[in-house]
Every structure is written in structure tokens, then in C-alpha cells.
Amino acid sequence: MIPSDHFTRFYNEVFKFLESQGEDQLQAYFLAISKNQEKHILELIETKGLEGMEEYWTHIKIEENCDMDIDRNEDRLELRMNVCPSLSKVMDNDAEPMGRYCDHCAGWIGPIFDKTGYHLVYDVIDRKKPQCVMRVFKDAAKAKEAEKDVKLLMGWPGHKV
């Protein structure tokens, strides 16, 4: 058994392999993971919207031991990851980190927001630092406006930046 604690380091090895096979393969994998994740979050978003997202990430914050602030208002949800446990483990690793490890996060959640009519603005800030800011808007124009303030904007399958 690869412990659930070490999934991220296994994930890192999978990313390195897929990157060597081509960008389209990595994108296809993000979509496969996105589909897998639908069972955990899709219904929450479809039935409760931003509140459902907050419920999901409040659960994740606990189970994945995240140092993260969650803020919701009627227009948007903001996740401010102060210390990301996922990238932290990949960096504290006897194997080499994949340089674009952070891309997977927008890679799986972006397609779910596309499917549910929300607008994601994902600021990775710096791929070598375990921190990021994710904002999800109801309104496309507000999301577009928010993109002006990001340091490193992430895309996802079907949404290049």
C-alpha cells in the first residue's frame, strides 16, 4: 500500500512520466482525475453552489492538514493556501519534484467549474512555493477583472491562458 499520506509523491512520479509522453497526455490525465473527483464535489456544487464548495474545502482543509483560509461572500469563494501540504511533501522528497507539479490543481478542478458554470481564477504565485490563491466567481466579468491581479495564472484542459 502506498499510504494516502504519500499519494502526492506517487502523483509526482506519474506527472514526470506523463510529461515525458507529451502535454496532451498530461492534460488527459488531469481530465481523468477531474472525472474521479466529481463523485466528491459535483453534487455539492450543483445543489449548494459556493456554499457547497466551502463545505467541500472545509473538509479537505481538515483531512489534508492544510494551512488555508477560506472566505466566501455572495459573489465568490476564495481559498488562500498559506502552506500547501501537497507541494510541501513533493519538495521534501527523495525523488526529484516535477517542475509543474502545481498545474494539476487547476487541471482537475477547472473542468468541474466549467461544467457547473462557475469561473475560476487560479493564482499559483510561484511553482516553487507551497502557497496559492484560488478564487471562484459566479460572474464571468468579475473573474476577468480578478485575473489582472494574479502573479501566475493557471489554465486547465479546455482553458488555456
Binding site: 500500500m1 502506498i2 499510504p3 494516502s4 499520506d5 504519500h6 499519494f7 509523491r9 506517487f10 502523483y11 509526482n12 512520479e13 506519474v14 512520466f17 509522453q21 497526455q25 488527459a28 490525465y29 481523468a32 482525475i33 472525472k35 474521479n36 473527483q37 463523485k39 466528491h40 479537505i60 481538515i62 483531512e63 489534508e64 492538514n65 522528497n93 527523495d94 525523488a95 526529484e96
Partner: protein, 149 residues
């Protein structure tokens, strides 16, 4: 024998990651074949768990046994470890990972337990030991460390 445990973790556990592992195994094997998946597990055994691999190569099984105890306890598995003179046997009666995936998707990938078998083989590669994994039933197995003949 060292008391080192390089990969210890604390806090909560997020068992849904096992579901993502199952999805990953199916994805890689469907596109690239089982050999590609095995090669990734080999890197997990030799590179990700380099400290345990290096200890085994140096003839020290201690860290692997502590690693097993640490994580099988963290994941609330039903298991025991028998450290004998000739072999060390980990008996897993209820693997939390396998049963969690079964709960999520019905039937785990037929290759789900390869993560254990192949990673164990890679951990022991080049060492005086072999680690054999016998799947004894759905979500149960026996893992044996013994000196190579």
C-alpha cells in the same frame, strides 16, 4: 539497526487519495500498458523511498518494519507483523486502502495491489533481501521479507 523513520507523517489522513491512485492505475495501464505502471512503482520503491531502499541494500530491515507499523496503524488497517529469525511477515487482514476504494467505485482495479507488490520488489532490488507479496483475498495480503538464497 537504525531507529530512523524518514517518511513519518502526522495529522489527519485523506483516504480518498486511494481512489485517485486507483484511477491513476487504470489510466496508465489503459494507455501505456502494465509495464509503464510497473516502471512508475519501481521509481516509487527506489527513488521516493530511497532511504528505506538504501537501508535494505545495507542489510537493515528496521526502517521498513517501522514504516509498515507507522502507516498501517495510521490508516487503521487490521494487521500484524511477526519478526522471526529467518523472515519478517506482515499479515494484512483488512487493507483500508482496498476497502475504501471498493466503497468508492465498487470493484478496485485488478492491478490495485500492484502498488504493493511492485513497490516492495523495487525496495528490495539490489539488497540481500527479497520481499514477496501474496494477495490472500479481497483487501488482504501477506508480505514477507527474507534473505535471498
Amino acid at each position: 539497526m537504525s531507529e530512523h523513520l524518514r517518511y513519518a507523517e502526522g495529522g489527519e489522513v485523506h483516504l480518498d487519495f486511494h481512489g485517485a491512485t486507483n484511477t491513476t492505475i487504470d489510466f496508465i495501464i489503459s494507455r501505456y500498458g502494465v509495464e509503464a505502471m510497473d516502471a512508475i512503482f519501481r521509481r516509487v520503491g527506489k527513488d521516493v523511498y530511497r532511504s528505506i531502499h538504501d537501508d535494505l541494500v545495507a542489510g537493515d530491515t528496521g526502517q521498513l518494519v517501522r514504516h509498515w507499523r507507522h502507516f498501517f496503524t495510521r490508516e487503521n488497517c487490521d494487521y500484524d507483523i511477526d519478526v522471526g529469525a529467518d523472515e519478517i511477515v506482515l499479515t494484512v487482514r483488512h487493507c483500508t486502502a482496498w476497502h475504501h476504494v471498493a466503497k468508492l467505485v465498487g470493484t478496485p482495479s485488478p492491478h490495485f495491489c500492484d502498488q504493493t507488490s511492485r513497490t516492495n520488489e523495487a525496495l528490495a532490488e539490489g539488497s540481500p533481501y527479497a520481499i514477496d507479496t501474496e494477495i490472500t483475498g479481497p483487501g488482504s495480503c501477506r508480505q514477507v521479507i527474507r534473505r535471498r538464497a
